[in-house]
């Protein structure tokens, strides 16, 4: 096999925002789709991660443990070749992805210039400057309860800008990255109901399960709406910071859920009266467990969009 150009994509988000879970759900999400896209590990450890995580989410119904080190996965997204009236059909498309999952604490504002904070920042910047795609996770529940999404964005963003400027990597006054902003935990009633009240839900006619969805073009609006209930009121600055540092056409919003909604296996249809897929664990009341099969929502889409954008830009990073 000819060597595929690799594209570095970095996960960015506060601790507990769902970075690791989103990656863990990627394989399941692809397998739920009716198209030809699939994900394949490009080294044994990356393959093992896909297998183990799929098994944990489907059989064990467990969330993956949060990453404690900078984890790097080498995957390939393989899908149908491009078609067109004047384009010759190719057998397949392959997008080589190097996904880097940093612990959320790496993005946290440091409490002092400790040696550990320096180490973590250096590690993070090396990853971000190498990447041209970013998956930024915005956890509306955390924002409502803690309100620190902006804290986890502006510090590293300024450092990244500084590094990129230093390396003369700015493009038209902005960072060259494509950024997929994922509003996570769509399965939580508070997020779903906000989308419903704002009339941002749109049916997907092709979806046999009739899961509620927020279209890509409406996701930004939901982000804005959720920002209003931030515990600190700083979430609105997240959107402004993104617009200032990234090209508008390289930002795309997604409303996502890694575990999706609960689906009655008899009716196989979404039920507004019974959709919670995260419930208290009978064995350990303090814990939560995944109730039924997982149906990830908008987990593959950000990756495919980033992969395709980077492939088009011809950057082999």
């Amino acid at each position: 096999m000819a060597e595929t150009p690799r594209h570095h994509i970095a996960m960015w988000g506060a601790p507990g925002s769902g970075k690791t879970t989103l990656l863990a759900a990627l394989s399941v999400a692809l397998n739920r789709r009716d198209d030809d896209w699939k994900i394949v590990g490009q080294n044994p450890e990356s393959s093992a991660y896909l297998t183990d995580m799929t098994s944990a989410l489907t059989s064990g119904k467990e969330f993956p443990e949060a990453s404690t080190a900078l984890e790097t996965y080498q995957w390939a997204l393989i899908g149908p070749g491009p078609t067109g009236l004047f384009r010759r059909q190719r057998t397949s498309t392959m997008i080589g992805l190097t996904m880097v999952d940093a612990p959320g604490g790496h993005f946290a504002p440091s409490k002092g210039r400790t040696g550990g904070a320096e180490e973590r920042q250096e590690e993070l910047m090396a990853n971000l400057t190498q990447s041209r795609g970013i998956v930024f996770l915005f956890d509306p529940i955390r924002e409502f309860e803690v309100g620190d999404a902006y804290d986890h964005l502006h510090g590293p963003l300024n450092r990244l800008a500084e590094k990129m400027l230093e390396a003369d990597q700015f493009e038209n006054g902005k960072l060259p990255h494509n950024i997929a902003v994922c509003i996570t935990k769509f399965d939580d009633p508070r997020v779903l109901q906000t989308a419903q009240k704002q009339r941002l839900l749109s049916p997907d006619l092709d979806d046999k399960h009739q899961f509620p969805r927020v279209a890509v073009e409406d996701a930004r609006e939901l982000f804005r709406e959720l920002s209003r209930v931030s515990a600190t009121g700083s979430a609105e600055m997240v959107m402004n910071a993104l617009d200032k540092f990234f090209h508008r056409d390289r930002i795309r919003f997604y409303v996502t859920s890694s575990i999706g909604f609960y689906l009655d296996q008899q009716t196989e249809t979404f039920d507004w009266n019974d959709y919670l897929n995260l419930v208290p664990d009978e064995a350990d009341k303090a814990a939560l467990r995944i109730r039924g099969p997982v149906y990830p929502i908008n987990v593959v889409e950000p990756m495919l969009w980033l992969g395709e954008c980077l492939a088009k830009q011809g950057r082999s990073r």
Partner: protein
């Protein structure tokens, strides 16, 4: 391993610690929650970040790391041990389990030279939990391997490439066994490489980590892969690694000897740059019989185990003799044990031989155990006076000898005291000891004083001391009873408050000495301790029982087991061996026995009115040395029993060995570990010299010498009201005694100052 505590050598070490975790309900990432005060938060935080392994889950794992710090202008290395994945019982804000990682930092120089394994460190710290005594006892002298394993050799060799090594295929192998493998690999390297080794029993294969030797399900790119129990080929281009494996495989000494010698190479050595090259040369020195290379007897300084620059091949040429010796000395294969070196040194005749022999001897004795052995030898052989006096620079050699034997342990050292009292000990040696104790006044300031200066100093000092004591006691009287006093806010360093526990110690009459030793050891560990003579023990209280019958205490933990055997010693010049029995039966000669000798009734039953004279063992030994006693009963195996004195088996049947056990219950794990750590020394002391008439004092002195009192690192414990028990059972507050003492000292000071000079003759300067 089921060795009794008495046979395991431990080394007591200081340590720093940090607890990594999250507060319950936290939305943030892991952080350092608490830490000790000896190092700054920035160091703990940096190290936890640098050596993160990405290994998650609820399986315990161990990570080993290192850190070099600069303290007071000196570089100090720590071996770092992280015990990972202990569920805290709490969850974070997103409902995930919070796992603790407990970090322990042990000063490298406190374990180097003691062949301390990582497993021993793990054992010492694994059960501490939130109770952290100021010091812990760590098992030393790790077992020497008798066979090599292909994968350990492969891993050791591959580490010489400077690149990380990952062991795969060990998912089902228990964690402790993986840790033991890391020890096996490390034992095949010069010990000094441990000061730069990061290793882990498990890492995430996808994590970007800095662990040099790790276990993982897959070996990532850029890492050498070793398959568990199957080894790994060494890339031919890696010449140092290939040569290292070659040396290990085709060594010319038994594996035990090789590992023992590598453990003596304690200078810190990196895995990069010239490190592997130096390691290869050091291995070359250790892998050939010592006759070819006597340098392995031990380096004389921290840098002495660095090989000569440019030496690719194992060193085969003997070191040059000291300046002035004139020619190369062809030495026979030197002995490898300290005892052998001592014997060899005593045979040295010419100055070059004496210098060289002493150099090797002192280098080999550069461990705690070695120094203890050397101290005993100095006492037995009068500081090698018969040898050293032949050397033209005898004074300098005595100074070196005193420095090497006592520099680490000069205060409250019974052997040093004894040497200072013994007339046969050369004066330069005594002078060196006194100088080390700060007793040497030096000629300068003394001469600057007037002739009656000493009297003024004594008198003035007495007045000052008396005055200060008087002030303190007066303040105490006015401020009420000795209530526990809290430290000022913010004065305590970060850490967990150390709460002293009252421990009861019970022992039979013959074992009161041991009881007082343990009482003092416990006090030195920050506990309060009482020796209880009678009455049943309260099972709920922390306690130590010293007994010859452990059956009534099935739930108690053994701290120490020791066996003492008494033997008859006779002066063969005075009593021929075949006449000993008849001399005893005649009952004319007095037999000297120890103060605690328990078998007088048995002796009298056998030999009628045999006259016995009870003395402290140390005095009997003095009598033997002076040839002043014909018959004595002593603990067997004492070094002083030398010709013309001989041991006789005549009373062996009558004086059976006595086994005493020290059992504990309810003691904190750290305290138990500390006590186990000194068990061997306590047992040895009890076997050879079980105290005297003044048991509490000598016991306390001995306990202080093996484990000095250390203040807890955090909030000081409340000071209990100490009382002294008099003969009638009344208690006298210490404060009153101090007050009376202060007044007496004041009076003495005044008398010293005003007394007629004619009545206080000055000592000659």
């Amino acid at each position: 391993m089921t060795e009794s505590p008495a046979t395991v050598h431990h080394v007591t070490v200081d340590y720093e610690w940090a607890l990594e975790g999250k507060p319950p309900g936290s939305y943030n990432d892991y952080e350092v929650l608490e830490h000790s005060g000896g190092l700054g938060l920035e160091i703990f935080d940096e190290i936890r970040s640098r050596y993160t392994t990405g290994a998650t889950g609820d399986q315990p794992q161990v990570t080993i790391a290192f850190v070099g710090t600069r303290q007071g202008g000196q570089k100090l290395y720590y071996i770092v041990l992280a015990l990972q994945n202990e569920w805290s019982g709490h969850r974070d804000g997103t409902n995930r389990k919070i796992y603790y990682t407990r970090w322990f930092y042990v000063p490298y120089d406190q374990i180097a030279g003691h062949r301390v394994s990582y497993e021993a460190l793990y054992d010492a710290f694994k059960d501490l939990g939130d109770e952290r005594p100021p010091r812990v006892a760590v098992r030393a002298d790790a077992n020497l391997p008798s066979e090599t394993f292909e994968d350990a050799i492969s891993a050791a060799g591959l580490l010489m490439t400077g690149e990380p090594v990952c062991v795969v295929g060990a998912e089902q192998v228990p964690m402790v066994k993986r840790l033991r493998f890391i020890d096996e690999v490390a034992s095949l390297l010069p010990y000094g490489m441990r000061a730069r080794l990061a290793a882990a029993t498990w890492v995430s294969a996808t994590a970007g980590h800095r662990i040099r030797l790790s276990f993982a399900p897959h070996a990532p790119d850029g890492t050498h892969k070793v398959v568990w129990a199957r080894g790994a080929p060494i890339p031919p281009a890696e010449r140092t690694a290939t040569a290292y494996v070659e040396q290990l495989t085709h060594r010319r000494v038994p594996l035990e000897e090789l590992v023992e010698r590598l453990a003596q190479k304690t200078t810190e050595l990196p895995f990069r740059d010239k490190g592997p090259h130096i390691a290869l040369v050091l291995l070359g020195e250790c892998a050939v019989p010592a006759a070819k290379n006597h340098a392995v007897a031990g380096p004389s300084s921290a840098d002495a185990d660095e090989p000569a620059a440019g030496g690719d091949a194992p060193t085969q040429i003997l070191e040059s003799p000291p300046k002035g010796a004139g020619q190369t000395v062809a030495m026979p294969r030197p002995p490898t044990t300290l005892g052998g070196l001592i014997i060899s040194f005593r045979k040295a005749v010419d100055p070059a031989e004496i210098s060289e022999g002493l150099r090797v001897l002192l280098a080999a004795a550069d461990t705690d155990e070695g120094r203890r052995q050397l101290q005993k030898a100095l006492r037995t052989w009068d500081c090698f006076e018969a040898v050293i006096r032949r050397h033209p620079s005898a004074d300098r050699l005595y100074e070196e000898l005193a420095e090497a034997a006592f520099a680490h342990d000069i205060y409250q050292n019974e052997i040093a005291d004894e040497l200072l009292r013994t007339r046969a000990i050369p004066k330069p040696f005594k002078a060196a000891l006194r100088a080390m104790r700060g007793e040497d006044p030096g000629p300068g300031w003394k001469r600057m004083l007037p002739r009656k200066g000493k009297r003024h100093i004594y008198g003035g000092s007495a007045l000052v001391v008396g005055g200060v004591l008087l002030m303190i006691t007066s303040l105490n009287f006015f401020s009420g009873p000795d209530l526990p006093v809290a430290p000022p806010a913010g004065s305590a360093p970060a850490g967990v408050a150390f709460v002293p526990q009252q421990v009861v110690i019970q022992a039979d009459e013959p074992d009161q000495y041991l009881a007082h030793v343990y009482a003092q050891l416990l006090r030195n560990l920050g506990h309060r301790a009482d020796v209880q003579d009678v009455g049943p023990l309260d099972p709920a209280r922390p306690q130590i029982v010293i007994t010859t019958d452990s059956a009534p205490y099935p739930r108690h933990e053994p701290l120490m087991t020791a066996q003492s055997k008494s033997t008859l010693v006779f002066d063969a010049d005075e009593i021929p061996a075949d006449r000993v029995e008849s001399v005893l039966k005649e009952a004319k000669l007095t037999v000297e026995v120890g103060t605690d000798f328990p078998d007088e009734a048995k002796l009298k039953a056998e030999f009628g009115e045999l006259p016995l004279k009870r003395k402290p063992i140390s005095q009997i030994v003095e009598d033997i040395k002076g040839g002043e006693v014909a018959l004595a009963i002593l603990p067997s195996g004492r070094a002083e029993i030398a010709p013309p004195y001989q041991e006789s088996p005549l009373l062996d049947g009558l004086l059976p060995p006595r086994t005493v056990q020290v059992l504990s219950s309810g003691l904190p794990a750290g305290t138990e570990a500390n006590l186990e750590g000194v068990a061997e020394r306590v047992a040895e002391k009890w076997r050879t010299d079980p105290g005297g008439a003044d048991q509490p004092e000598t016991a306390a002195k001995f306990a202080d010498s093996i484990m000095p009192a250390v203040e807890p690192p955090s909030t000081p414990p409340a000071t209990p009201v100490t009382t002294i028990k008099d003969a009638d059972g009344f208690t006298v507050p210490t404060g009153v005694l101090v007050f009376v003492g202060a007044v007496l000292i004041l009076i003495i000071g005044v008398v010293a100052l005003v007394w007629s000079p004619a009545r206080v003759p000055d000592e000659p300067w």
